[in-house]
C-alpha cells in the first residue's frame, strides 16, 4: 500500500527554485497495477524517484506499507529500499560486465552470503522471465529486451512490496515491449505484484488497472476504467 499526502518537490539551482511536484495526494492499494501518464517534464520520474526512496521530498509524506519514507534517516531508507522496493528503468541499468545471474543476485549480497534457497529462487526468476540458458551470459552481450528481463528479475528478487517502472518499454520496439508488458502483467495477475509504471504509451497503459494523469506537477485526474467517459477524457488529455 502506498499513501502520499501533500507531496512537494523543489529543485534549487543557484538562485532559482523550481517546484516540480506541487502537492500531490495519492493512494495505491496492494496488488494494483497503476500507470502514470503525462507530458514530458510534468514530474513523473521525480514522483517515482520519491516513491522509490531514491530522493527525498521537500514537503509531504510518503508511506509504503505503513512506513514513512520521508521520516527515515538516509541509511534506513537505503535498507528499506533494498528490501521493499524494486526499480526498473528505460535504460535497464544493469552492471554490464556481470552475468545475468550476478546482476539478479546483486541486491541480495548486502544481506550476506547466497544460500542454496536464494540460488534456487534466482533460477526460478530467470526461468519466469524467459532467460533459461543465459545464466552465465554477460549483461552487455544481451539484447535490449533481454536486458530488461534481467532488470525485472533483479527488481523482483527481494519480493518487493512495490515494483516501480519508469518507461520500461521506452527503448524497445513494439514486439519486444509487448513481451515485457506481458511479463509485468503476469507477475501482477499471478503474484498480485503491485506495480507503478510511468509511460507515454497508451498501448502500455492499457495493461494497468488505473491511470494517473499528470500535468505540470499535479494530478489532473485518476482514471478508473469502470467510469463511463474515461476514453473521452484520455483522448482530450493526449491531444
Amino acid at each position: 500500500m502506498i499513501k502520499v499526502t501533500n507531496l512537494t518537490k523543489e529543485f534549487v539551482q543557484g538562485q532559482e527554485r523550481t517546484q516540480v511536484l506541487k502537492g500531490i495526494d495519492l493512494h495505491i492499494e496492494e496488488g494494483e497495477f497503476v500507470a502514470i501518464m503525462g507530458p514530458s517534464g510534468s514530474g513523473k520520474s521525480t514522483l517515482l524517484q520519491l516513491l522509490g526512496g531514491l530522493d527525498v521530498p521537500t514537503k509531504g509524506d510518503i508511506q509504503v506499507d505503513q512506513h514513512f519514507l520521508n521520516k527515515m534517516k538516509e541509511r534506513e531508507r537505503t535498507i528499506f529500499r533494498r528490501q521493499k522496493l524494486g526499480f526498473i528503468f528505460q535504460n535497464y541499468q544493469l552492471l554490464p560486465t556481470l552475468t545475468v545471474e550476478e546482476n539478479i543476485a546483486f541486491p541480495l549480497h548486502a544481506d550476506g552470503k547466497l544460500t542454496n534457497e536464494k540460488n534456487k529462487w534466482i533460477h526460478e526468476l530467470i526461468a519466469s522471465v524467459g532467460l533459461e540458458g543465459l545464466n552465465r551470459k554477460r549483461a552487455n552481450l544481451l539484447s535490449g529486451g533481454q536486458q530488461q528481463r534481467v532488470a525485472i528479475a533483479r527488481a523482483l528478487v527481494n519480493h518487493p512490496a512495490v515494483l516501480l517502472a519508469d518507461e520500461p518499454t521506452g527503448n524497445l520496439d513494439r514486439a519486444k515491449a509487448e513481451e515485457i508488458l506481458v511479463l509485468l502483467s503476469t507477475f501482477h495477475r499471478r503474484k498480485k505484484q503491485t506495480i507503478v509504471m510511468v509511460t507515454h504509451d497508451i498501448f502500455a497503459a492499457g495493461f494497468a488497472d488505473h491511470l494517473i494523469l499528470f500535468k505540470d506537477g499535479v494530478i489532473d485526474q485518476v482514471i478508473s476504467r469502470k467510469e463511463e467517459d474515461y476514453a473521452k477524457y484520455l483522448a482530450n488529455f493526449m491531444a
Binding site: R174, V182, F203, R225, A231, K232, M238
Partner: protein
C-alpha cells in the same frame, strides 16, 4: 465471403451439422462476428451446389451432416494463399473520411476526435482482454487481438497525422 471460407475451414478436420457450423464460424470471426444461422444455411446450399461440400447423411439426432469435398479443400487453400490487399477503401472509417473530405464536411475535426476516442477505448479494452486470454492459455486469440491492436495503433497515428496537417 467470410462465411463461405469459415465453413470450409470448419469442415477441414471433421464433419459438422449446421448449427455447429454457425458456432464454429462465429468463433473464427472473433469476438464481434456474430452471424445469423440463415446466412450459414444459404451459404451451405451454394457450397453443395458447387460441389465444394457434400452431405454424407444424418447424425444420430437426425441432424444433417456436412463434409468437405476435395474441390472445397482446394478452394480453401487457394484462398488462404491469396495475400490480402490493404489499399482499399473498404475499411469503414477511411471510406467515411474520404467522403467527408469530398464534401468538405465542416465537422471533420469532430469526426476525427470521436474516432480517436473510440480507438482509445478499444485499445484499453482489448489490452485488458488479451492479457486475460493469454493467462487462460488462449494463444491464438491473444495473437489475433495483438494484431488488431497494431492496426489500431496505425489508425491512431494516421488520425494524428491528418490533424497535424490540418492545423
Amino acid at each position: 465471403m467470410s462465411v463461405k471460407y469459415g465453413i470450409l475451414t470448419s469442415l477441414f478436420r471433421q464433419r459438422h451439422h449446421g448449427y455447429e457450423l454457425k458456432l464454429e464460424v462465429d468463433s473464427l470471426l472473433g469476438i464481434k462476428g456474430k452471424i445469423n444461422p440463415g446466412q450459414v444455411y444459404t451459404t451451405l446450399d451454394r457450397l453443395m451446389r458447387d460441389q465444394l461440400v457434400s452431405s454424407p447423411g444424418w447424425d444420430d439426432q437426425e441432424r444433417k451432416l456436412f463434409q468437405l469435398e476435395a474441390r472445397g479443400k482446394d478452394e480453401l487453400e487457394k484462398w488462404l494463399l491469396e495475400p490480402v490487399p490493404y489499399y482499399t477503401a473498404k475499411e469503414d472509417f477511411f471510406f467515411k473520411w474520404n467522403c467527408a473530405r469530398k464534401i468538405h464536411f465542416a465537422q471533420e475535426k469532430q469526426m476525427l476526435e470521436q474516432q480517436k476516442e473510440m480507438i482509445i477505448k478499444e485499445v484499453m479494452e482489448l489490452t485488458k482482454l488479451k492479457t486475460e486470454l493469454l493467462l487462460q492459455g488462449e494463444e491464438n486469440k491473444y495473437l489475433l487481438i495483438t494484431g488488431t491492436l497494431l492496426h489500431l495503433e496505425a489508425d491512431l497515428n494516421w488520425i494524428n497525422q491528418v490533424e497535424n496537417r490540418s492545423r
